[in-house]
Symmetry: C2
Subunit: 161 residues, 2 copies
Amino acid sequence: MRPNHKRLLASALGISILAVSAGVFAQQAGAKPETLIKWRQSAFQVIGWTCGRVKLALDATTYDKEEVVKAASALAAVSNAGLGALFAPGTEQGKGWHDTAAKQELFAVGSKAGEIAGTLARETNELVKIANTSDAAAVKVQFGKVAATCKACHDDFRVKL
Amino acid sequence: MRPNHKRLLASALGISILAVSAGVFAQQAGAKPETLIKWRQSAFQVIGWTCGRVKLALDATTYDKEEVVKAASALAAVSNAGLGALFAPGTEQGKGWHDTAAKQELFAVGSKAGEIAGTLARETNELVKIANTSDAAAVKVQFGKVAATCKACHDDFRVKL
């Protein structure tokens, strides 16, 4: 693939915002599309698992700070791991664990998916900071921002499940 | 479930080593077995994805430190997220994305699975430290320790895939 084509594709995926280097992009794009789709579906399951744990902790009668820090840390690390590379060209359609739930609009030039991914990365990092230094009330506010970011992407770019 | 039963089950799963509190254990055990199995299969896929990225970076002609730190950070965070709770009683058999590949020996009293999970948590944390401060050669040595930990668990506790 010629460099200018790489740049075009990277731009279409909002790769610059996701901070995925061209090298990484090329490496992971070498994996089979169904493998990339499986990995991204798995990554979002881990995001769901860890978000669910933060929510459970916030709903519990006794706030378990250690649990929230642990769940939020995994949530933030996966959100910052470079998920954009898992939406490489060739993965617009196909089956990982199940048919992809990503709408075609996600892959379109000018899509806001990359921007939302950047927001997710920032808001989850902030959640870890707040979880380490603050109480349940502050965590709840920040967790609301994380959840709103998830919802924004689901509304625009995920087919109804 | 009575508290002494909780303790027995927690002991069988090496929960104390995995540092999963009884509260968390109870919360996540409230999820359906197939959901827990799906989450654990997803978590290990993310572990596979991130390990693969570290390996790719080590095999590349130019060492990409940023990529290794990012992949290792997600690897360590998931490894430290409390995976033990995803092996709760009731998940010895069943289907998540696919039939569980965990051998029954993993769930037996006195199983070393919890100990190995503790080693994975430590070795991956060490990988992040080394990735942040050192060069490819040092990362390669530590990555070998991580890979050996994965293999130890697969040899004893995963059915042949």
